[in-house]
Structures are given as C-alpha cells and as structure tokens.
Symmetry: C2
Subunit: 286 residues, 2 copies
C-alpha cells in the first residue's frame, strides 16, 4: 500500500537515507524570517510541531526528553551552577528546565531569531512559562559574538541548543567556538551541546570530541537519550569540562524539589553508559 | 518540498500518527506465506530490510540493538541459564546472541513461519551464523502449542521475540500465555518479551504488567533501548520472574568472552532506569 503523503509532515534526509513523518491535523503558521523558514503544524498525536527549514525542531509530546537532557545532567554535574548561557534554544524549553534549579541566579538565552521565541510563546506556551522569571534574560543576537564579548571565567554552564552542524549552525561545532566557550567558563565550568544521532552521525561526534580536546577541554562525555522526532529517534548531548564528567550531585538529584517527566538519577547514569560500538569508534578521554 | 515516496519503503501507522521510511536501492524479494507477507529490500543506508505485513522487522544496520537487548539482560539476570526457549525470532538474530553464552546447553527457537528463517539465511546470513550450533534447535510450529507441551519447570529463560500484539501475535500478550510460560519455567526462570515503544504504547506495557502479575510473576522490569527502525525509535523489552530483576551477574558481564556491539554492564543498568513518566504511569512491583 503506497504511503499517502497528504496530511503528513515528512522530514526526509537523503544523506542518512531515513525519513520521519507525523500525521497532521492542520498547518497553523508559516513564515520566512531573515534567518530561516518556520512552520507550525497541529499534529494528530504529537501536539504542536515546529519545523525550521524542513527539519523537525520541537513537538509538544516529546520535547521533554530533549529539553530535560540538555539542562539537568550538566547542571547537576557542575558543583554549584549560578550563571548559565544558552546559545540557540529559542523555543525556551531548555531555559524553562534550567530555571527549575533554585541556585541558578542568571540564565541568559541568546538566539539569533526572535521569531522562534515569539512563535513558541504563541504555540508552545508551556515551554515559555518561565520567560518572565526575573533570572531569565532573552537576547536575540549572534551567540558567537555574544560569547566573544562575555567576560572570561564568568559562566558556570554553557548549553548549545542549536540546529544541525550545517549552514548557520556549523560554526557552533568548530574548535574556535569551543575556545570561546572555554574562555568564558570558569574552572568548574561545563559545556553541553546537542550532538546528533549516535547511530547516524558518529563522524560528527568524533569531530566534536577532537575539537573540544583541541580547544583545551580535558574531559568529554556523551549522554544518550530517545528523541522520537529526530532522525533515528536516538539522540545525544555531549558534555565537556575540566574534570571527570561521570560524577554528578546524585544526592541533590534525589532531593530535587522540581518535577521532571524523564530525568532522574538513574536516567542520568544510564544516559552516560557508552555502547560498545562507541567505545570502539572513539578514543574516550575518561 | 513534498516527500517523493518513490524509492522509499514507508511504514505509516495511523494509530500512532507516525511513519518511518528508509531509502531503497531495490526490492529483493516478496512472497505471501501461509501466515504473512514477507518483503526483503536492499536499502541505501541500513543494509537489508525485512518487512512483514508492511511492518519493519529487521535491518542489517540496527538489529544488533534489539537482538542483544532481547538476549543478554535476561541471560545475565538468570543465575545459570542452560535451557532457553525463543518463541518467534525466526530471523535467528536472538538465537545467535543466546548461543554466545557458553553455559547454554540448549536453545530452542519456535517460529510458526519457516519462510522467515529461510529468507533470513539468504539475506541476513550473519544473523544465522549459529544455526548449525549443536545446541540450536529450530522448530517451525505454533509457539503456544509448543509451550503447552513443554514439561513443567524445564526452562531457564523464555524469550518472546514476536510481532506486535495485533492479529496472530495478540495471544502472546495474554494472561493465559504468561501462565503457560510460568508453568514451563523453573523457580529461577525468567521471561523476557519485546514490549513496544515506551512513548507510544504505554497501554500495552501497562496491560502486560497486569497480566504478568495475574499469571503469578511477582516481579517485572522493563529495559529501554533505541531501535531506529521501530515506531518512535525507542523500544523496550520486559522481564518477568520471581526475584528482583534489577540484580544481574555484573561480574560475568565484565568477564564475558564474546563481543557485543551495544550491550555491556553499564548499558544493562542504564536500560533498567525508569523514566519519571513511567513511574507515574505504572505501579511497579519492585
């Protein structure tokens, strides 16, 4: 039976030979911003869906996996995170998770495209519910320029919640970018970056490790987690820092006063488990 | 840009509102057996693909995730597994993993459709490389009937490597079936069954837990793992037994003499981590 593509949104990727589709109720919005094309759909089973330049970005149903894993492992690995910078992350879901941590004093989100945030406020209000938190700062400008102008040793955690390493997102995967991150982070500082599919993008992960090391980060660790709307449904985020990244404040996780849908201490430890094929692919630094 | 479905195989599921596609090189085979329609494709990036009644079953590239997780956690949880029954599993990939365990004396695979195995031998020879092992028994008959005729307390591990709980596979998710399993297993015996997507099929998992408990299994535990070609890319297998299933022979895993592509002790522990939403959904028995 042929696939009737009508009423489905499909992200088909020739390079990986895979496609993922969600059945639609209707298209809610479409616009071309100075930076990219943004579409918003209402889906049959995944709630709202934001698509940027044809790539699925965030759905109501499964974004909790990604946003929790981009925020909590890094913040519970740092001994006392107070100042957090999010580069990208315009949908504000990562910001919301970061602000759940009571000891965070300032969370600064720098996304180049204000329209992502304005559309998220309209169509994903639950992701934006902490945007008015007095600790939140929303800036719409170039994240790299922002980072260059950030005082040295002034940040505890940098979260790179970006698109894929093609086009405008590519520079966020460069050694130079990681050098800027390292400069802005203090000694205990931790960088975490979305790092694509462990199955489909081992080359990207390998490059990332090499460039993070070249930029002076002595330790890396990759977190694996499910993300159904992203290619292969299996995604990752990679931590970089100057100390062993397998240790985290487990007791603080056990005693945390906020709710999660996915994350807990066992999930944190489980996400750090390294599949055998990754051990063989990578020369891990710890 | 509309999705040009030509040269892609797509499994589109109205109920879950999701579809997954793989780009094809060519179709290698198609036949209608007395039980089901089997298709074999050569894909651009996932190697060979077997499709049964329109559902993706196994690909060369990612089957290691599923087959290793169906076999090794159960076999390393049992204190000394010698006699293993596989119900379904006609592609022989689970059988191959089971036979990597040197203390297994007999591994019996009972799949109703011999054609699945014959086609696997031709198109997935790597999955069938242990079919000639003297400990392997391949039978082509009804797994439930087989189980009914199995002597009580005669098995250490039962692996239910079946299709979804619709049509002919449905009976394998019934309380009556679990009663037959429990009867055939000895005191330390462990049942493990593929249990669908933790995100998309929570109702199936919940039913499974309730029926396993009603059939007399005092303990259950679900293993989560990635499986890109299955709906949502996130899959699970559920263990049932009479003792705590979080404990396993970790030292034996560390010292195992065979290779895996995914499984190791950290992956085993990580797969047992229970996401927060699952804790809220289920009343877990341990």
């Amino acid at each position: 039976m042929p696939f009737d593509t009508q009423n489905w949104f499909t992200e088909a990727i020739d390079e990986t030979g895979t496609a993922f589709s969600l059945k639609l109720k209707t298209k809610l919005h479409e616009e071309q911003t100075p930076y990219q094309k943004i579409e918003i759909f209402d889906t049959q089973t995944f709630g709202k869906l934001m698509v940027i330049d044809g790539c699925t970005m965030v759905s109501s149903r499964d974004n909790f996996l990604y946003h929790e894993m981009m925020a909590h492992p890094a913040l519970f690995t740092h001994p006392a995170p107070q100042r957090v910078l999010i580069i990208g992350g315009g949908d504000c879901g990562t910001l919301r998770e970061v602000l759940k941590h009571p000891w965070v004093k300032q969370a600064c989100q720098v996304d180049i495209d204000e329209r992502v945030t304005r559309l998220s406020e309209k169509y994903f209000p639950e992701l934006c519910e902490s945007n008015q938190d007095p600790r939140a700062e929303l800036h719409f400008s170039d994240g790299i320029k922002w980072l260059q102008e950030t005082a040295p040793d002034s940040l505890d955690v940098i979260i790179v919640d970006s698109t894929d390493p093609v086009g405008p997102g590519e520079v966020l995967f460069s050694e130079e970018f990681y050098r800027h991150c390292r400069r802005a982070l203090n000694h205990d500082g931790i960088l975490v970056q979305q790092s694509e599919s462990p199955l489909l993008h081992q080359d990207i992960l390998l490059n990332m490790y090499q460039r993070m090391q070249a930029a002076g980060f002595s330790h890396q660790a990759t977190l694996n987690f499910p993300q159904p709307i992203y290619p292969s449904g299996w995604w990752s985020a990679t931590l970089a820092g100057n100390t062993k990244l397998q240790h985290f404040r487990e007791q603080d996780v056990q005693q945390k006063t906020f709710d999660c849908q996915y994350y807990n201490a066992d999930i944190h430890k489980g996400a750090l488990a390294v599949p055998e094929f990754m051990k063989k692919t990578f020369t891990l630094s710890d």
